[in-house]
């Protein structure tokens, strides 16, 4: 189906089709949990886990699923992996699980995951789907990391809990509050669009 090379299949998720900056998917967790880098990272990894495994399963059983019930089956598959992720986090990383609260179960309705199944895994081989899911996950983790780094550094003056700003710095509390998420994401989207236009014009 896809005419890209394996490398391109992976790289597209990082920029060209980056789920957050280019496709504006999965904005709910992106906005909600990126106040601290550790939360953003955990959220990104949990989503990656769900995305990669659902892509593997969906692409391997795509031939058996009648198209009328495909969305229902995808959701069941995704929900399974989400629940696994949720339970495991609660068991092994109780603190992060508490911080992320309902956002882990909410991965079920993250558009990135269902979107990739519908747009890619249901039409491509297992190998390609895996690479695609890997690329998309990396793109998502990357976006969350950028966003949460900016917010944590400006909002608290720390990165992953380590003090990075000097004592002269007065933390911008707004950055770890919900408005900070909107401000940062808005500005990042603006910059992404600007870069996109520039590269397009050059071509």
């Amino acid at each position: 189906m896809s005419t890209r090379s394996i490398g391109q299949e992976f790289v597209k998720g990082l920029w060209d089709e980056n789920p957050v900056f280019r496709q504006l998917l999965g904005l709910c967790p992106t906005l909600a949990v990126t106040g601290w880098v550790i939360n953003g990272l955990a959220m990104g990894l949990a989503t990656s886990f769900v995305l990669i495994f659902s892509s593997l399963v969906v692409s391997s059983i795509k031939k058996f699923i009648p198209s009328q019930v495909r969305i229902a089956s995808y959701i069941v598959i995704i929900a399974t992996f989400v629940t696994i992720a949720d339970r495991c986090m609660a068991a092994f990383f109780p603190l992060i699980s508490k911080n992320l609260g309902p956002y882990i179960p909410l991965i079920v309705v993250n558009c990135i995951i269902l979107g990739r199944q519908e747009a890619f895994s249901s039409r491509n081989s297992v190998g390609r789907s895996f690479i695609d899911a890997l690329g998309m996950s990396s793109g998502f983790v990357l976006a969350l990391l950028i966003l949460s780094s900016i917010r944590e550094v400006l909002g608290v003056g720390t990165f992953l809990g380590l003090q990075v700003m000097g004592t002269w710095f007065k933390p911008w509390i707004i950055m770890i509050l919900p408005p900070g998420a909107f401000l940062t994401l808005g500005i990042l989207l603006g910059i992404a669009l600007h870069i996109e236009r520039k590269t397009k014009a050059r071509k």
Partner: protein
């Protein structure tokens, strides 16, 4: 095979598979999650009632749970009250430790809060807020000292420090503490604090 039959079979199959998977995961993690939850409460009780060897749930109602802490000999060393109330942005859950006579607060611990980070969230900050609760006489109603001070010495007997710029959050904690202390005294008078022999450990 007709389409509807295939649909039913596929969905059933997917559902069964998912279900069995989840059941396995649940089996594997259930105990740990429960353990985590218990450990959290236990640690909190240990913190607010020092010298606790074992603790028991003595009383439970909506937004208020009372635990009794006992030392090795089984003598009551203090009460731990887990109470929840509305703060500036959302629910605040506290763990409050008192001596057995409910005359003195051992210390205060914030279990859960959704206050404004950097502002109301300082109710979870020892330096500016929590340390002022340590060993506080609570035989009288506690009041808030405004504006904020730096050391315990600047406060009078039954005064508690405010957080600069977060009067509402400070007040919420204060009210929560005052009301749960009152409730605890009332419960003790009624004798409802009989041990239900429900060991938390």
């Amino acid at each position: 095979m007709s389409l509807s039959a295939r649909m039913i079979i596929v969905l059933t199959f997917v559902g069964l598979l998912s279900g069995s998977f989840l059941a396995t995961v649940d089996l594997l993690t259930k105990e740990r999650i429960e353990l985590n939850r218990q450990r959290e409460i236990e640690e909190a009780i240990l913190q607010v009632v020092p010298g606790t060897h074992s603790s028991q749930k003595l009383y439970e109602e909506k937004d208020l749970t009372v635990y009794g802490g006992k030392d090795k000999k089984g003598i009551l060393v203090g009460f731990a009250i887990q109470a929840s109330g509305i703060g500036f942005q959302g629910k605040i859950t506290l763990m409050l430790g008192t001596n057995p006579s409910i005359k003195k607060i051992n210390s205060l611990k914030v279990i859960d809060q959704k206050e404004t980070p950097g502002l109301g969230a300082k109710i979870n900050d020892r330096e500016s807020f929590l340390k002022f609760w340590d060993n506080k006489d609570c035989s009288n109603l506690l009041t808030l000292h405004k504006p904020a001070v730096k050391t315990q010495e600047e406060l009078s007997h039954s005064e508690i420090n405010t957080i600069t710029g977060a009067t509402i959050s400070s007040e919420a904690v204060l009210n929560l503490v005052n009301s749960s202390l009152n409730r605890l005294r009332q419960l003790e008078k009624e004798g409802s604090l009989s041990s239900e022999e429900q060991d938390v450990n």
